[in-house]
Amino acid sequence: MKSLLKMTWMETKLFFREPIGAFFTLGFPLMLLFIFGGIFGNEPSEYFKGYGSVDVSIPAYTAMIIATTGLTGLAITMSAYREVGVLRRLQTTPVHPLYVLFAQVIVLFAMTTLGMILLIVAARLIYQMRFDGNVLSVLGGFTLSSFSFFAIGLVLAGLMPTARTAQVVSMALLYPMLFLCGAGYPLELLPESIHRINKFLPLTYVVKLLRGLWVGESWALHAGEALVLAGILVVGVLVSLKTFRWE
């Protein structure tokens, strides 16, 4: 337990020493908020059923952070640790390298949460964001979505031979999803053709679930999305149990 705490603290420090990861998790979503908040403001709009542009963006940007930490954070770090022998070095100690994976997940989940909190605070203070959801319900959806993306990241980390390939593949998956799934650009403004594609992309389900819970819709209304995400989580963990290599 002490080892896990020490390792988690170490991974936290390493997270902040790697400015790119910290920027995309904590800084970039705020930047988007200020840019689009500045352009569109947060006036109620008929496009968004009476909500403003900022109101609907916060859960969507939260989905963006989830996808970023899951796909890039976990996949790239774990591939790099395997490639250069960090995991192998741990195997020579009484502590299993699984600990470093746990520590990574704890740190990334904490940073994803921090990213969401920063967004909420900024949106509330500057744009008087409305929130009609249930806090616990939103946290539940947030946790399910995060772990479902960690599972995807873990599958990638298992399949990618090097950190470089992990980086390229993660980016290639992440960026199209950010725009096709309604995370960086509202779902309501996407044409029908994109909606036909994005139902095959997991981030769409995160955006729909979080946006629904955010405005107080019930889990029953979003059972489909929740099931898809739970399915990804289970399958991802099972697949990575088979494919993940420590060396």
């Binding site: 002490k2 080892s3 020490k6 390792m7 170490m10 420090k13 390493l14 020493r17 790697e18 640790y81 250069v84 022998g85 960090v86 192998r88 070095r89 195997q91 020579t92 100690t93 009484p94 502590v95």
Partner: protein, 323 residues
């Protein structure tokens, strides 16, 4: 073959009893079609520095990794400190230290952080501050791992391997890629570690390193042990000739050879004379110097060349280039 090591601790002299810490019997490991280790057996005794030497691809790392429990042998028996590395791996790793040929820390992790983190993995508490100064890393305590030189990284890996206060440490190709200063500093460290009562098992492909550091070496080639003994005994058994070399200004008198033993041979390269022979009855160098003095021949730069472990190694493993 028992190696006695004398350890002086707090003014008391302790002489070790040969106590077996590693026993390997008929170890075999195959990767696909390649036989990496082909049925080797050896013992390591307490307080030895035991070297596994051999050309690249001879099976050194596979052997050491099977003994550490990091790889599963296809057959054979291994006992380390009374434990089976495959079944009691965790317990074994808690009381041994390992430095791996290919391992790394995150580049942005600082030296002190790595020691602090890794020391939390072991049940025994070690004062890593003391290790830091013992290994000469005090000035580097706040440096990130990625900014360390090769020698500093290896010293840090030795420090990490010593955190468990191990009875036994494994060092795999410790000095590969280091410059001579760093290499000699590491050798001194390994001697210190042994002097404090830790058994050392190491692999190397530098014969000079094995000859200077190891009490016993096993020479591994194509997955088999081709020779195993003290470096001195291996060199002696080679029966290779020694050479006495000197420079003279004038020509060597024709009757010089008469004083030399029958098996000696004289080779002349310009002003340099090389006498090949053996130390059969009397040291060859003594005979040569006596004769030079008796015949009043002025000579310069006289030295002898002894065969070394590299000669043994090349004789046993051949000289052809291999990858």
């Amino acid at each position: 073959m028992g190696v006695r090591v004398i350890i002086v601790e707090n003014g008391k002299t302790l002489v070790s009893k040969p106590n077996r810490v590693i026993a390997v019997v008929e170890l075999r490991k195959v990767y696909g079609e390649t036989i990496a280790v082909d049925g080797i057996s050896f013992d390591v005794e307490e307080f030895e520095i035991f070297g596994i030497v051999g050309p690249n691809g001879a099976g050194k790392t596979t052997t050491i990794e099977c003994v550490e429990g990091l790889r599963k042998p296809d057959s054979g028996r291994i006992n380390v400190l009374g434990l089976d590395p495959q079944h009691d791996g965790r317990q074994l790793r808690a009381q041994t230290g390992m430095q791996l040929q290919q391992s790394h820390l995150p580049d942005r992790m600082k030296v002190w952080e790595s020691l602090d983190l890794y020391s939390s993995f072991y049940p025994k508490k070690t004062d890593w501050e003391e290790l830091l100064s013992q290994l000469g890393l005090e000035e580097k305590r706040n440096s990130p791992f990625g900014k360390l030189s090769g020698g500093q990284k290896q010293r840090l890996f030795i420090a990490l391997a010593l955190l468990s206060q191990p009875k036994l440490i494994f060092l795999d190709e410790l000095t590969t890629g280091l410059d001579p200063q760093a290499r000699h500093a590491i050798w001194d460290l390994v001697r210190d570690v042994r002097a404090k009562g830790t058994t050392v098992v190491m692999t190397t492909h530098f014969m000079e390193e094995a000859e200077r550091l190891c009490d016993r070496v096993a020479i591994l080639d194509h997955g088999k042990i081709v020779a195993m003994d003290t470096p001195e005994a291996l060199i002696h058994d080679l029966g290779a000739e020694i050479q006495v070399v000197f420079n003279i200004d004038a020509a060597l008198p024709p009757d010089f050879a008469a004083a030399l033993p029958a098996d000696a041979r004289i080779e002349i390269q310009g002003g340099r004379v090389i006498i090949h022979g053996s130390d059969a009855d009397e040291p060859l160098v003594a005979i040569v110097v006596n004769q030079l003095a008796r015949q009043k021949i002025r000579f310069r730069d006289l030295r002898t060349e002894q065969p070394n472990l590299e000669d043994v190694f090349l004789k046993l493993t051949g000289r052809q280039l291999r990858e």
